[in-house]
């Protein structure tokens, strides 16, 4: 490699790292416990709740919906979602004349119609997650962290390029442990950096995609989902709606073998003004993250369309497991933690090598 080329890549490596290191350290430190969110919350949170009549046949969806809405007179249904590990259906409703975005949320025990305790994360984990996602700054914070993720990708790519001139006389993996601290840490930095490059690139790139969740979903709603509503001019009034159970049953017919995930009611963000959007997901680790909505005409209960999500929504859906590492059991989580710690060492040693640079004796 020519000296000039090396110098250019060095500049890229130095600045992409310097700009992002502190934020990346924060992401790695908060990300470490977040990998084990499920396990930690299982220990920290009380698990006392049991359904009222475990043996009873489950209430119909229309009955559950009525039970949820009875708690909030005047509100209209917005979403209905289904807990995976307990017979609880969550009814989200909204006051059509109230402020936008103010939802009521009622977990309903499907065996009794009574309210079940909500599943909330532990406050400490929620705090860490929020810090990790947007630093409590909302969308601008998310997008900023996305930019830091792009810096990370730049730092990894330039780091791999610079690995060659540094290692041209050292066999792979050499650690000159008896040399000066600077040399020793340079070797650790290079070894850990090149070995973890694949994982860091995947976690970094999927992290960047996750920061774009809000604009990606907004674009989907405003384009692909909107196209399905063109045939209608007036929203379906709440009184003229077909049975929810019949709508879900019709949707299941259209997507056999898939698992019910949630229902978006007409007029909400995830549906049109005229349809129940019934979302399904598959049951392998890959397809469980890929949702497919079936749109059911809210007046007639007829199937209007099966609308597979476009590629950019699929990319977003797959970016979540690949970023969180929660798709391959505890072994994968432990690897995620080890590689996260390795990344902290890489960031720390990189900072150390840069800080130590000024004190180096001139050659």
């Amino acid at each position: 490699m020519k000296t000039r080329t090396i110098r250019a890549w060095t500049l890229v490596h130095k600045w992409s790292s310097l700009v992002s290191t502190l934020f990346l350290l924060m992401l790695c430190v908060t990300g470490l416990p977040l990998v084990f969110t499920h396990e930690i919350e299982e220990v920290l949170l009380p698990q006392a709740w049991t359904p009222a009549n475990p043996e009873a046949p489950p209430l119909s969806l229309d009955q559950v919906l009525a039970a949820g809405l009875a708690l909030h007179p005047g509100e209209v249904p917005a979403f209905m979602s289904f807990d995976e590990d307990r017979p609880v259906v969550n009814v989200t409703s909204v006051d059509p004349n109230g402020p936008a975005g103010k939802y009521s949320f009622e977990p309903i025990d499907r065996t009794s119609g009574e309210v079940a305790p909500p599943v909330a994360g532990h406050p400490v984990m929620e705090f860490l997650l929020q810090l990790h996602t947007d630093m409590f700054l909302g969308l601008p914070g998310m997008l900023f962290l996305g930019l830091m993720g792009l810096m990370l990708i730049g730092a990894v790519v330039s780091g791999v390029v610079l690995y060659a001139p540094f290692m041209r006389r050292l066999p792979f993996g050499t650690v000159r442990a008896r040399k000066a601290a600077r040399t020793r840490w340079l070797d650790y930095h290079n070894l850990l950096g090149v070995v973890t490059a694949g994982w860091v690139l995947v976690v970094g790139a999927t992290g960047v995609i996750n920061t774009l969740a809000t604009p990606i979903l907004a674009y989907w709603k405003n384009t692909a989902l909107k196209e399905l509503t063109v045939a209608y001019d007036a929203p379906a009034p709440a009184g003229e709606r077909a049975s929810l159970d019949a709508a879900v049953a019709r949707a299941k017919q259209a997507l056999p073998g898939m698992k019910l995930q949630f229902v978006a009611f007409p007029g909400t963000d995830y549906s049109t003004d005229h349809h129940y959007a019934v979302f399904f997901h598959g049951d392998t680790p890959l397809t469980t993250h890929l949702t497919t909505p079936a749109l059911i005409d809210a007046r007639t209960g007829e199937l209007a369309a099966v609308a597979p999500t476009p590629w950019y929504v699929k990319a977003l859906s797959l970016s979540q497991p690949l970023h969180f590492g929660d798709y391959g059991g505890l072994a994968l989580k432990i690897l995620w933690a080890l590689l996260d710690i390795a990344t902290i060492v890489i960031l720390g040693s990189g900072l150390y090598l840069w800080l130590g640079k000024g004190r180096r004796k001139p050659a």
């Binding site: 680790p285 391959g328 590689l339």
Partner: protein
């Protein structure tokens, strides 16, 4: 004493292998459950194995 420079394959051979193994592990674990999780996690574990090997055998 001047040693000859290593060629590009000598420098990047092992890193490319680890890169390929870890990407296969990352994506493969998405596709299957149970035994496959173990198999593909092992591929990703090549990162840790290689690091530990280097820290023991290539320390000097």
């Amino acid at each position: 004493m001047s040693r000859k420079d290593l060629n590009i394959w000598a420098i990047f051979g092992a890193p490319i292998l680890v890169f390929a193994l870890s990407l296969t592990g990352l994506i493969g674990a998405l596709l299957g459950d149970g035994v496959w999780d173990a198999v593909f996690s092992t591929l990703l574990a090549s990162t840790v194995v290689v690091t530990v090997w280097a820290l023991i055998r290539r320390r000097r």
